[in-house]
């Protein structure tokens, strides 16, 4: 085997060891930080009372401005990609970007399918904190299967999340409930139904789809268009409509799902308010309605960063290869493990 390893070493395809341009990097660094205050405390005389209070305000301002700049950059990136002005779809896409901070949302989702004696429905309420690198989810769900057990449900807390072999694995507590999102990397974090493979739970197929990731997938695919306005709870909202890519229901592979979505967004911010998705037009096709009760961006600070940390749990197998969003326990105390 050592011969194999030597052979691997010899096959290293990168012989170019050019030193990257330090000056160019520093120029880009200065550009990036130009609009931010320095995140560093100076070496001025110790005025401890003043210093204790000041950094928290300052760091919040820095974080807020960082997020603002990042959102602007995200919008600019979308604009440059399409070469046009900022449409509401583009604004909505930018609104779902965590943009260096944390997107926090509280949703309730109701899904129903089938008809008559074969109907089933589920309701869930989820609280999600999502950054660019990771997310944490608390969920309470209730499922009614008219042709099976009368009712199942419970409250689940995501206690582990890892990416390995192209799969995003989430472990919820209390067990049993594990979800594995196959093709996680291929779908850029999307948990689209075709990529979901639920274990031990008959009802977690489509309902575990994260609505924000589903929206981002639709926005990025350019499948949405503005379709007028609608009133909801006294507010005028913009309607976006479009069809998602056809997909196969994971639990019943021969059924093709042709999702069509209707999204209500805040015309000023692009933030989602309601998402309705019909998975096909046949009688009894699955329909899912998600209402966003809370949707906001949080600055990434040591305090908010803790919201992304999973609590200690015996079933956790954390992957936390970078200290960006890892607590000490996560980054140093646990092995990745393999399944």
């Amino acid at each position: 085997m050592s011969d194999v390893f030597e052979r691997l070493r010899a096959a290293n395809p990168v012989s170019d060891h050019t030193q990257p341009d330090l000056d160019e990097f520093l120029r880009r660094l200065d550009e990036r930080t130009a609009e931010e205050s320095s995140p560093i405390r100076t070496d001025k005389a110790d005025v401890s009372g003043w210093r204790r209070a000041r950094p928290s305000v300052r760091s919040r301002l820095i974080a807020a401005s960082t997020i603002a700049v990042a959102i602007v950059l995200a919008i600019a990136a979308v604009v440059s990609h399409t070469g046009g002005g900022i449409s509401l779809v583009q604004r909505a896409y930018a609104a779902t970007d965590s943009a260096g901070g944390i997107v926090y949302y509280v949703t309730s989702t109701r899904s129903s399918s089938g008809f008559g004696a074969r109907s089933s429905s589920s309701e869930s309420r989820a609280q999600v904190w999502r950054s660019e690198l990771r997310s944490r989810r608390l969920e309470t769900s209730t499922t009614e299967l008219h042709n099976g057990p009368a009712q199942q449900g419970g409250s689940y807390e995501e206690v582990d999340q890892r990416v390995a072999g192209g799969e995003l694995s989430s472990t919820y507590s209390p067990p049993p409930r594990n979800t594995v999102f196959k093709g996680f990397l291929a779908f850029r974090g999307s948990t689209s139904p075709e990529s979901v493979n639920c274990r031990r739970s008959p009802s977690c197929a489509v309902t575990t789809e994260d609505p924000v990731l589903a929206l981002r997938e639709l926005y990025a695919a350019g499948r949405l268009h503005e379709a007028g306005h609608a009133r909801l709870n006294g507010k005028t909202l913009t309607v976006l409509e479009g069809n998602g890519a056809a997909r196969t229901q994971p639990s019943v592979r021969f059924i093709r799902l042709n999702p069509s979505s209707r999204i209500l967004v805040d015309p000023k911010t692009g933030a989602p308010v309601e998402l309705i998705t019909h998975y096909g037009r046949r009688l009894g096709a699955l329909t899912s309605t998600t209402i966003f009760h809370t949707y906001k961006h949080l600055a990434l600070t040591p305090q908010t960063e803790r919201l992304l940390s999973f609590r200690a749990h015996p079933h956790a197998r954390l992957e936390c290869v970078l200290a960006l969003h890892c607590s000490d326990r996560e980054s140093h105390g646990l092995d990745i493990g393999h399944t």
């Binding site: 194999v4 052979r7 060891h17 990257p20 990397l185 291929a186």
Partner: protein, 176 residues
């Protein structure tokens, strides 16, 4: 620590390790994006300079790995990136690297899982020692040793089979 001092630390970090980070990225992405990745990694290092460990290379490579994954997630250069970045966590058999002159070896690497391949390449191409590789992958050295041993064995098995032109083993899993 003054801003000036931190700036010096960052510059030293860049001078000492930017070449290795660039080489890491170049093995996984096109040259233009590799340059951007280097820049992004050291931007992060600047923001989190206090968190950079005394042996910074594993931390920086782990950071580069995440940046590459995020670039895909952010949808930048979608078409070009999707093909190349899928190497980070793609299913067995989907990986090809044109730059590897040893084609049987490239095929054998392609049959490994993304995790096995990443581990082997961190050690063989990025020249991390086991301690550093364990840090980069966020696992203990003991776990790393077991995983490395298994990954080597799987690479050797694949290579042996490819060079004897045996058909790939079909498993029930692959038939699903």
């Amino acid at each position: 620590v003054s801003k000036l001092r931190r700036r010096e630390q960052l510059e030293k970090l860049f001078v000492d390790h930017a070449t290795a980070v660039r080489a890491y990225a170049l093995r996984r992405i096109d040259p233009a994006t590799a340059e951007e990745t280097v820049s992004e990694v050291f931007m992060i290092a600047w923001r989190r300079l206090d968190d950079v460990p005394s042996d910074p290379l594993p931390w920086l490579l782990a950071c580069a790995r995440r940046v590459l994954a995020n670039q895909r997630r952010a949808g930048r250069r979608r078409v070009a990136l999707q093909e190349r970045l899928s190497h980070l966590g793609d299913p067995p058999g989907a990986w090809e690297f044109d730059g590897v002159p040893d084609r049987p070896l490239a095929r054998a690497l392609g049959e490994l899982s993304g995790d096995d391949r990443e581990l082997l390449l961190l050690v063989a191409w990025d020249e991390l020692d086991p301690e550093q590789a364990a840090q980069a992958l966020g696992c203990s050295r003991g776990t790393l040793a077991v995983r490395l041993h298994r990954a080597r064995r799987r690479l050797a098995d694949s290579l042996r089979r490819i060079e004897h032109e045996e058909p790939p083993i079909t498993t029930m899993e692959s038939l699903r």
